[in-house]
């Protein structure tokens, strides 16, 4: 029997909120019934394109009794409160990463989420990218034998505004956290973190004591080693690569190119058109598939949605990386942070 579309409320209508709105509207299994944003013009604009009622109050939306699920795309400091409100209301929630910048607040919420049985998923969209997912599947299938080394390169086209850097929680919690989740996706539990950061070009990073360039080495319980390379800028476009090396071979994900064109001349050959610049374009399919998996999760089926625990684990690694970069020591995950009972 065909099911009714799942009725979504969307909280937050910034760039990423708009992506989710479009995906909900385009997904035959979903319906956008309500939009909340204190910046009401943002909510109205999204509603005019994708439907749904508008309100400036997330709480009002959550308690509207018209929803089957909530998608939280509001600023990070609101996440804990909104997840809690959804859980209290019995509403499944797909929340953008990170849960919070403060592991203490995350751990305070943790028991309630665990006890509630309400589905809570974290927006680690990159797990759903078809190329990353395909490599993951092929690693599991044994194509490279035992995974020994995973290399993740993630560089943004340009740094965010200095004002954002100031509230971002730092590069590890803000940017690398995607890579920490990807690392866990591939190698499971992380037991040791060594991070090195540098301030090479971004005034915002310098002003706020953050790094604009970082390298992180993770050791997994499996024995595998993970290397993550980050930069807040990349002249060549959005640089998102992954390389899984094992006893039998190597699987790689290259960058997405903006065309199928290459150019050869006397000075160089087979020069490709630039990589795409936008994370939204790069992860278009990933966001749509993330929504599909969340819908499956809510409906009780098999789902690969990252969980609240996944969100917490990535934050713990980020905290360890921050400490490692500051203190010049390898930080073991067990020692870094108290595990909430």
């Amino acid at each position: 029997m065909r099911q009714n579309p799942m009725r979504f409320g969307l909280i937050g209508t910034g760039r990423i909120g708009q992506v989710h709105a479009a995906n909900i509207a385009a997904n035959p299994a979903a319906e956008l019934v309500g939009i909340a944003d204190p910046f009401i013009d943002g909510a109205k604009s999204v509603a005019s394109r994708f439907g749904g009622t508008v309100t400036d109050s997330p709480e009002q939306l959550i308690h509207s009794r018209q929803l089957d699920a909530v998608l939280v795309a509001s600023p990070t400091p609101t996440h804990v409160e909104l997840i809690e409100a959804c859980v209290d209301a019995g509403l499944p929630v797909l929340c953008e990463k990170p849960i919070d910048l403060d592991i203490v607040r995350v751990d305070a919420l943790r028991p309630k989420v665990a006890a509630s049985g309400v589905p809570v998923a974290l927006g680690f969209n990159q797990r759903f990218d078809p190329s990353f997912a395909r490599v993951h599947m092929r690693v599991l299938a044994g194509e490279i034998g035992e995974l020994e080394h995973l290399s993740i390169v993630s560089r943004d086209p340009g740094p965010p505004p200095a004002s954002y850097i100031g509230v971002s929680g730092g590069i590890f919690r803000d940017m690398t956290i995607h890579d920490f989740d990807m690392a866990r996706f591939f190698v499971g539990d992380i037991i040791e973190v060594s991070a090195t950061g540098a301030r090479l070009f971004d005034a915002g990073a310098r002003e706020h004591g953050d790094f604009d360039t970082a390298v992180v080495t993770l050791r997994a319980a499996s024995g595998a080693i993970v290397t993550i390379t980050n930069s807040r800028h990349s002249a060549i476009g959005y640089d998102q690569r992954l390389e899984a090396f094992g006893a039998l071979g190597m699987l790689q994900v290259g960058n997405a190119q903006s065309s199928l064109v290459s150019y050869s001349s006397a000075s160089s050959v087979e020069a490709r058109d630039p990589y795409i610049e936008s994370f939204i374009e790069r992860y278009t399919q990933a966001y749509a598939l993330e929504l599909d998996e969340f819908i499956k999760l809510v409906r009780g089926g098999q789902s690969s949605s990252p969980s609240f625990e996944d969100g917490r684990a990535a934050l713990m690694i980020a905290d360890a990386a921050q400490r490692s970069a500051e203190e010049g020591i390898a930080v073991s995950i067990a020692s870094a942070l108290p595990i909430a009972n």
Copy 2:
């Protein structure tokens, strides 16, 4: 001032008709108001997804007085009649290629189209593919100097049913015609055609005296030489490549790959996931951009839509290729066909 959406009637709801329906529905400058197909269930199915009234009579749709333009995606034998009806009704028309399999019928329609002033565009969608278009633009910009040789490779994943082969007009009029148009797009007027065909694997081609493999050499008035390589099958997926060689360099369009993944092992390295199989996926953007250009054409703006004359010219080359392949001579375009007054 913002204009009202252009009201489209769609004739034909087969695979390609459905692509056009989706594009019209998704284009903010267009609206799908009516759908005609003698196979009424096809029309109904499309209407249920993309809107519009339905009828089994194309004539009725054309004369409904609700249309600003018509998109003809019905079988080839109906094209001449439908273009004529649209022109008589003063309705701009975007017609799938070819105009007809018989140059005599095309030439009979030609004066009316020319005299009418009604915009008639041919669906040579590949001109709008962003990669082909980008190479075209860069050739014009002089990046490779004088264009001396153009190579087009076009291979379909698999042959059509034998029944289709029988009414297709042969590989040159049915399949190579896209490449003939692409050749003209790049090098302008063609003056000589040499074609070689073979029947290597397809029972349908053998049964109907058609070729399943073909190579065509064109000589342009500019002096440039064009090589076209066709096959009705391709185990490696949809093979659509172009290479423009000139005095200063070379521009190439490679195949579209199904992922960003590559695999290295002891037996081979950097093996990419297969090419995509579907022409619809390969030319998704091209179809959408084709529609944009047609809308511009109808609104009287600058447009690069291929014209009725472009459709006729490609058919003349196809006829010459057929004769060349059968008789083993290089056929000059001027001598091959009577030019309609």
Copy 3:
């Protein structure tokens, strides 16, 4: 038991003669014992580097009774006479291509070569290029199924002097002849030739009625079609590619690059350093392996050296291509030329 090195006489010390001299000197199974060149300073220079006595008389060298075999790298018009002298002297000969520009002279020599039993090999070095040879082997192994289409691209970095063009026999006999042999290597007997030539940039070609750009389509007895694309210039370096397409897949040989470096910037990505420019660098291994095979041939072992008959067959195709390009007809090989009995 280890054999004594084969004692070679070298006739001709131009660019290609020097390549052969170096290979004979470096090959533990060969020894350079004598060098003949009417330009005696050339012979002396080669002897000073690689050993051997010198003479300005090829005949004297051939009859010196010190040789086991002769390598002919002198100008084309001398080939027939020198092969004949070697055969008369019972000396195996490896002769640079082509045998001659005139099939009548080749056919006049043919019965003597056939009757003599003396090994005569033609210098179609490209058969021995490890990449081409590997594709050939993999095609035979069935990796692409039945070979349906073979594409050969061969473009020289720059045109030869006009004076050379005048005595070259034309692009088909001088340059394409390598590709005709490669075609026969892959698809066997050729039954039909269609050629198109153009004069686009080279004053020498225009002056002597030759082409600087050519495209040839061959039909093989097997049914396979071959496309050859030639140019006398290539801004991107030495362009030597091959593509074998079959029912199950495709094997390609790309160009040799001058380094392992690629460069990505805001304007393009993965731009490789240029292709190598020199045929000697491109075919270094091929020339050495060609010599190995010739030595095997002389010693009576299994050998893949191209024969006098291979040299003749390539010239017949070249003649057919010349006629096809001039007359605008597909020329069948059987009808083109009388087969010497």
Copy 4:
């Protein structure tokens, strides 16, 4: 005026000694006059191929008064003693890396080398690889702007015997030392080292407390960060890549492939033939160019030969890496090791 060939003595005739012997013999500016190896059959075998007298006593060779320079390719424990003997004899020496496994011994030798004025070069051959050298030159030329991140991947086809592991000094001093030198070549002084090692597959590494897999992060005085990835095995062949990322772009060195062939089928496309397996084949040109530079150094010209100090600096980084991997701390180079006066 043309100089006499430089008369070389070679000490050590193992695999790498043989490479040097061949290069000395092939270099018109050098001559192999004497060979020393306690394993006298090795010396004899090399002499029979490349010339020179033989002795089982390195000291005898050094004091033979027939040499202009010495090439030391004997086992590592002999290097300090042999360098010292050469310096005492006033003979320039090109010594294979590392100088020694013990920095104390290196520092003991250091003042004598510095005071002597005798040219002492270290065999960091990879600096001379044309691709690495070309990237180095292009980085200096500013093509990528300020160098921010350097990634070096170095994986051997297979692990050495367990017996060798036991005397190798560990992966950092034995294998990574090449990468440490390459890092210094690109970014200059290193100030901090963080290393992570793992024992994942090699029984020899496990037996001797060594690592078979390692990742090292270096911080340069310039601010740049370097990542080095090592493995003692690589199913895909010899994996030697470098990536220099800067504000304006990226330069990469890829792996050397064993042919120009690629294969496409229904399951994957553009699969290349495997990478080459042998470091000797990969670095053929590098070894020859290393010798050229050493000859220039001895002759007093401009030379880029790595010095004794370069050899010492790489060892200091290796020591720091070893300590970092064992203790889980970032080791600053200044603090790690006493700098010899």
